[in-house]
Amino acid sequence: MNPLLPLFKRELLEFKKHVFPTVLFWVLMPIVIHTFLAIPLSRIITMDIRYLNWSAGGIWITAAGMTAFLQSASRMRKIQFESQQIDALLKSPISNLDLLIINIARGMMYGIGQFIVAILITSTLNNEYLSLSSILIISIQMFTLILHFSVVGTLIGMLVSNGIFFVNISFILFMGITMGFGNFIPLKYYPYSFLSVVNTIPTTAAFENVRSVILHNPFNWAGFFLTLFGTIFIGIITLIISHKIFRKI
């Protein structure tokens, strides 16, 4: 039997056990971001289209990205540092790659769930209509971003044992996603020197692509593929690091 199947089954069993708090979190996260971030900023920022419709993309990215990051990172930290479950897993005939794949899949499972709930909530709150093709294109872009955050979460979870340090990293990531990449504050408000740095990061273009669907603008496919390749690269680094960390004292 493929070892990924029982591992995935384990994730489903955990999801089943925590289904109520998970769904509650999925519902609350976009509402909280909408209420405490998007609405106040809508009073300050003026643009060609309604700000709340424009910022919906930021809500999907922040909610789904943070969920994917936190789920993959906290699970990896839990099995490695907080409990000794990793011994039971590594003792089994599974490879490090299997363990990483299932952890990334976990982040994606929760991230995609969060994205679906977020898109439903923002569409309801903003009376927004998205065509099937728009949802499909947004989903492709979001899939890559959720994968990206799951991989980064797995890497961080594998490296950061200190709880306070992990909270700080999560907070910095949250601030970075919400404030640093034009998800809630258009990039034109930032100084040129900052933009010259941010625009070199492929995920900036991937974030921009999500908003482009709302604005009916063309996509930057180069940004999409660069994010995807960057994610694969981080994944390979994570695998190499796992061989240096797992099965070592």
């Binding site: 199947l5 089954k9 056990k17 011994d87 099965r247």
Partner: protein, 308 residues
């Protein structure tokens, strides 16, 4: 007999600290092999190395003829491992903890279910299967770990202090199961319980500072003491220093040690003992006890610089 496990010049170090030093030994198929040693002597390290939780620096290890480095997936699936610490999954029920572990080792869902129920019934925790393992007493958690190690019917069973924290009834259940299993499985267990080691082992290895100081059957190990006897004399009041000084004059009285009111020493010659006894009677001797050297004595002797 055919070898089940072979260690060849295995070494492991962290920085300057040597954890396993040029370790070589073999374990026959279908035998029960016991590792005894102090804390940090390398017992758990050997078990973890066998199940692939840590990697060796040098040497080779084979399980049923397969190298654990190049055929690690195969060798890991052959082993059942019960760790010293509780590492159960708190997000799953006891049933799922055992069943998922079985499925990770290649069992189908139905086989895993059947085996889980079988071991739960034998170990007496069927009624708790739907509960969280962390709501249970420590002894029961140890039994769950034991069931988890056995669920996939491994050829090699590696147990790290298996009965620690269990009540006498549970201990006896576990040993009865192991007694039945040892005909078709190779069992290695690490322990600090000499009674269990003497009772259940086919072979015993005494580990000290990452290497085997002595190994063999219990009878063979006891033979190496050449009839050494342990004597314990109890006094009503602490014997004077003069008595201890006199004792030092006896060349064949080994390791005389006074612990409170009890004097312990070893000797191979009865005459020497009688002479000490005569002296002791002059200093309020209250009681005495003698026993032939057992594993505990041998272990203390070997790990504390020898009995001689």
């Amino acid at each position: 007999m055919e070898a089940s496990i072979t260690f060849k010049a295995v070494g492991k170090a962290i920085g300057r600290k040597t954890l396993l030093a040029d370790l070589s030994f073999g374990v026959e198929k279908g035998s029960t092999f016991v590792l005894i040693g102090e804390n940090g002597s390398g017992k758990s390290m050997i078990l973890k190395l066998l199940v692939g939780l840590i990697e060796k620096d040098t040497g080779s290890v084979y399980i049923h003829g397969q190298d654990i480095s190049s055929r690690s997936l195969e060798t890991r699936s052959m082993c059942g491992y019960m760790p010293q610490n509780i590492n159960l999954d708190d997000d799953l029920t006891i049933f799922d903890n055992i069943s998922i572990h079985g499925q990770l080792h290649g069992l189908t869902s139905a086989e895993a279910r059947k085996n889980t129920l079988h071991w739960a019934e034998l170990l007496g925790f069927t009624q708790f299967l739907k509960q969280s393992p962390y709501d249970q007493a420590f002894g029961l958690q140890r039994k769950i770990l034991f069931a988890r190690a056995l669920v996939h019917d491994p050829k090699v069973l590696l147990l790290d202090e298996p009965t620690t924290g269990m009540d006498p009834h549970s201990r006896s259940t576990v040993w009865n199961i192991l007694d039945k299993l040892h005909y078709d499985k190779t069992i290695i267990f690490a322990t600090q319980n000499f009674t269990e080691a003497e009772r259940y082992a086919n072979r015993i290895a005494i580990l000290h500072q990452g290497n085997i100081k002595m190994d063999g059957t219990l009878e063979r190990l006891i033979e190496t003491t050449h009839g050494l006897t342990n004597y314990r004399l109890k006094f009503s009041k602490e014997p004077p220093q003069e008595f201890m000084d006199q004792l030092e004059q006896f060349p064949r009285i080994l390791r005389p040690r006074l612990k409170g009111l009890e004097l312990e020493f070893y000797s191979r010659e009865r005459q020497q003992f009688f002479k000490v006894l005569r002296l002791a009677l002059e200093h309020d001797l209250a009681d005495l006890d003698t026993s032939i050297c057992r594993l505990r004595d041998l272990f203390i002797g070997l790990t504390e610089g020898g009995l001689e």
